[in-house]
């Protein structure tokens, strides 16, 4: 164990996996300069064949990832910002997500798409979307959202070794977050949620960047004797519904925090699933803490006003606990 930032944990995972598997090729925009630090040093270490700066052409690189994977390579494709995934969307939605199914499983597509997703840094509307609901709805790509540096390492290594297209979404503004990270071989399987903090009163499911404010809210509430169970799904595709519903059955109450626009957020999906499958266990309506259906604004005060926060999470928890069936 050593204390590292999330971006260093990712860098470590990339180096270890590229050392381990010489078939891996990594490409994307400015991966040599490494805007975020995750691909730092890779070009020097692995050379210009395996680590390639591409022009700014997402439509091509997202599709090249598919072609190179179909032709036998393990591919890491850096899309930079989540919003740039939209410009590469044909190859992602129509090719990567469908080629295996359409050809009846003739091929594997071992691709890891990296992108920074979500807001909180005054990057404004075109650099701040939380893109996981869009990707999760495609059906054919896996979506990984680490909530801690250790998870970032363990999940990225698993994503790279996975034989399917995986989106590894690093939460914007969380790259510098420190935490204990295991050295060397450390793998977290995709599709296994983690209970970050046990609690008896309410299940608080927090996705990706929302794990940190959820834990802070839980800590604060604990001081008042409210014990919140914080569940981190870690991957939204595949989704560990079993762990989430088991928690809901224990506590009888569910709040989901998701840094996505409300309509068709993963929070909405989880709320629907919990209502369908654990209705009998629910003591109060399910609450979702999401982003209103608007763009992410620039000015810090505006952005803070719409992103979920410790305060809005706390409020949702309190209101859910205070709910009484109307008489």
């Amino acid at each position: 164990m050593a204390r590292k930032r999330m971006i260093q944990a990712m860098n470590e995972a990339l180096i270890e996996e590229m050392e381990r598997d010489p078939s891996i090729v990594l490409f994307g925009e400015d991966v040599k300069a490494s805007l975020f630090g995750d691909t730092k040093g890779l070009w020097k270490r692995f050379g210009p064949d395996r680590v390639r700066d591409t022009p700014i052409c997402e439509a091509l690189i997202s599709g090249m990832a598919v072609g190179a994977a179909a032709a036998g390579r393990r591919v890491i494709c850096h899309m930079m910002f989540g919003n740039f995934v939209y410009t590469g969307m044909d190859a992602i939605a129509n090719q990567a997500a469908k080629l295996r199914y359409m050809t009846n499983g003739q091929i594997k597509l071992p691709i890891t798409y990296l992108a920074v997703s979500g807001g909180g840094r005054s990057a404004a509307a075109q650099h701040s979307d939380a893109i996981h609901p869009v990707l999760a709805n495609l059906g054919g790509v896996k979506v990984v959202m680490p909530g801690s540096p250790a998870d970032a390492k363990g999940l990225l290594k698993s994503a790279i070794r996975d034989d399917d297209p995986v989106f590894f979404l690093q939460a914007a503004g969380r790259g510098g977050e420190p935490g204990e990270v295991p050295e060397g071989e450390y793998l977290i399987p995709l599709g296994r949620a983690a209970i970050r903090r046990p609690g008896r009163d309410l299940s608080l499911v927090a996705i990706g960047a929302m794990v940190r404010p959820a834990l802070k809210a839980a800590e604060a509430l604990s001081g008042e004797g409210i014990e919140v169970e914080v569940v981190d799904p870690r991957t939204v595709v595949p989704l560990d519904l079993e762990t989430i519903l088991a928690s809901v059955r224990r506590t009888g109450r569910l709040v989901v925090v998701d840094e996505a626009r409300d309509t068709c957020s993963v929070a909405s999906h989880l709320a629907a699933l919990a209502a369908e499958r654990a209705f009998d266990a629910l003591l109060a309506p399910i609450r979702r803490v999401t982003v209103p259906d608007c763009c992410i604004p620039y000015a810090p005060v505006l952005e803070r006003a719409i992103l979920p926060s410790v305060e809005t999470i706390e409020r949702a928890v309190r209101e859910t606990l205070a709910w009484r069936r109307p008489t």
Partner: protein, 330 residues
Amino acid sequence: MVVGGSNLPREELLEMYRRMVLIRRIEEQLARDCAAGKLPGPVHLYIGEEAVAVGVCRHLSERDWITSTHRGHGHFLAKGGDPARMMAEIYGRADGICGGFGGSMHVADFSRGIIGANGIVGGGIALATGAALAAQLDGDGRVAVAFFGDGAANQGVLMEALNVASLWKLPLILVCENNGFSEFSPTATVTSGSIAERARPFGVPFREIDGNDVIAVWQAADVAVRRAREGRGPSLIEARTYRTRGHVEYEVTFITEPYRDEAEVEAWRARDPIDRFARRLREEDPGVADELAAIDAAVEETMRAAVRFAESSPEPDPASARGQMFATAP
């Protein structure tokens, strides 16, 4: 045997003829099947364009990669795909090459380097560029060919591919089949300038050729494939051809106004790539007529066998409809 300035072995010429006729007979059958209501989905026929797929694919082995288009039966067959399993796929049957999950627009056979037909216009270009990158890294002389139409030439991804393939000297051959129509729009109404010359500013060699002349296609592809195998980078070939059928076989049911002149179609039919090639072969060697007739008969039987195979194949099991989304199931 010297045909059209080429000096190709007789067997090679006859094999090119055989493959073109195979594509033609299979697709004529599909046209009949479609008219008879036997096909569950849309089919886009390649009739009249066979020389392009065959002239290019004769330079490729099963280890080379191709990506194709929504009009992809010809590429599949020219690259050595199994006609019976393709037919079963288009019939929506369990023994189809994709188990009935893909259909006409997605026939693929990765074991033969056929990354597949593609329902997205221009969708194969980036895939072929990626396969070319993998081939370059493997360093074993493999190449990737992207077949695409004049319609796809107007997708931005072509420019992106020309740029990257040229920068990285990828073993990529971009083959534009300019068949005169972008779905229902005549090419000239939606395309400015020359498609071939779009390669020029990227430093990519290009040629515009008669796509209805299989020898001309063979010769242009020979140069481009050789260049790619030698690590000298990509090329673009614009093959001028003509789509003698409609965009899609069902179009008579929804296109009410004619979008082209019947005289134009007739003029191109007179330049049919198979008739022209057979005529040249006979001119060169009158004795070849018997061999061509034997090929015709054998292909006819292959087509009938493909239909029998497809018809006798069961429909897929509805319980399998969720298919194989992931290699590692969640």
